[in-house]
Amino acid sequence: MSSTASPLFTGIGVTAPNGLGTEAWWRATLAGEHGIRPVSRFDATGYPATLAGEVPDYEPERHIPSRLLPQTDHMTRLALTAAEEALSDANVDPDGLPEYAAGVVTAASAGGFEFGQRELQALWSKGGQFVSAYQSFAWFYAVNAGQISIRHGLRGPSGVLVTEQAGGLDVVAQARRQLRKGSALMVTGGVDGSLCPWGWTGHLAGGRMSTVAEPERAYLPFAGDARGHVAGEGGAILILEDAAAARARGARTYGALAGYAATFDPAPGTDAEPGLRRAVELALDDAGLAAGDIDVVFADGAGIRDLDRQEADALARVFGPRGVPVTVPKTMTGRLLAGGAALDLAAALLSVHEGLIPPTVHVTSPADDCPVDLVTAVRRGPVRHALVLARGHGGFNAAAVVTAVPDS
């Protein structure tokens, strides 16, 4: 029987452009060290956008079993690496749980595009018999959830959500749903990336990529000279457990998932207010909190003037102008598609756990029409509740509240 208390986050695994592994990433994040550099995974010099956030020093053979190497895209390897770290961090052995007690729900956007591009090139240049048998699933949206499930024997309710950037938050709500239905533990979050010509072309077609070539000037959310975003790879895998089950096994906890809500934007061309403010208010309601209880907001930070104004406006309506500290650590990583909000959740959890707000880099001051109290240097002090926002291309809004939990 599941408990009614908010579920608890008990494990974090990270693969990020500014750090491989939770410890390296968090240290870099607090130090304001970014990981945005010229693309190295393919020759991007002929494209309008030439910068990306790539996970550094990743040697697949050191992290991935030999049997899984021929059948996994780069982003799936990163996801498997983060999942292994998260489970180990939670100090949980899935083999010790009842067979269907633990599941996996991850966020995705494109699936394994780099793998898929290679196989499609083999198809048209050499013929069908040269296409890898593993293309059947390696490209697929659900592949990360599937591979994590198989590797760790997690046979409970599992799935994938595809809501672009919002996915990193939507999945923890889906995980919470499964815990309420009786699962004991869920592996959730998102790790994503498609840094290959095929993926890059898709990113460019979205029209939101920055074409600025200097890493320090390319992605400037809330700034007057915002010019779009930098795309990156990576994300975070999180362990979310039923509170009673976590306490019963004496798990160390980072924080609780106190509230969540999702909304959809009105149809393009209508004058109605975007759905973000409503998502914030509904998430606060779900958490049973007032605006004044929130000590930091991890913003979506689109880096597009219109979208930044929308987000600043939503925050001003709920918290008052410059009424709450706002930070965008993804200025250090670029936007990680379905992995971005999951990484922000990891940062929010460490923020409430340690009483530290990580900085936004490269933006010296927000534009006048974005009245946010932007955190540009680490701030210390109790962080009781953190709000994480994510907006996905196509109208998705999601908001999640995480809350500090005293060590028991």
């Binding site: 030999s66 049997r67 021929p70 018999q129 890898s132 048998a133 593993y134």
Partner: protein
């Protein structure tokens, strides 16, 4: 065409589908089942696709279905190779 050896088969298994932890393909594997060695049907499909490319032949489905160990696989495979090599 020269017959396929066990070393060539294990080399292709390793290259196309990796090697299961705890399994030593250089050990005594001739009569162990592919399943026991950690290879599922998709892994076998991958390996067979590669053999067909390398040897320029088509292996009938029943060869794959009936050959559950490297010894059985090599026997059927090399039968096929000698047939291919036989003048029409």
């Amino acid at each position: 065409m020269a017959e396929m050896t066990l070393e060539q088969l294990t080399g292709l298994l390793r290259e196309c589908a990796g090697e299961e932890e705890g399994v030593d393909l250089d050990g005594d594997v001739l009569d162990r089942s592919f399943t026991n060695l950690g290879y599922d049907s998709l892994a076998m499909l991958q390996v067979i696709g590669r053999i067909e490319q390398d040897y320029g032949l088509t292996l009938p489905d029943e060869v794959v279905a009936e050959a559950t160990t490297p010894r059985q696989f090599l026997a059927r495979m090399n039968d096929g190779l000698s047939e291919v090599a036989r003048p029409a």
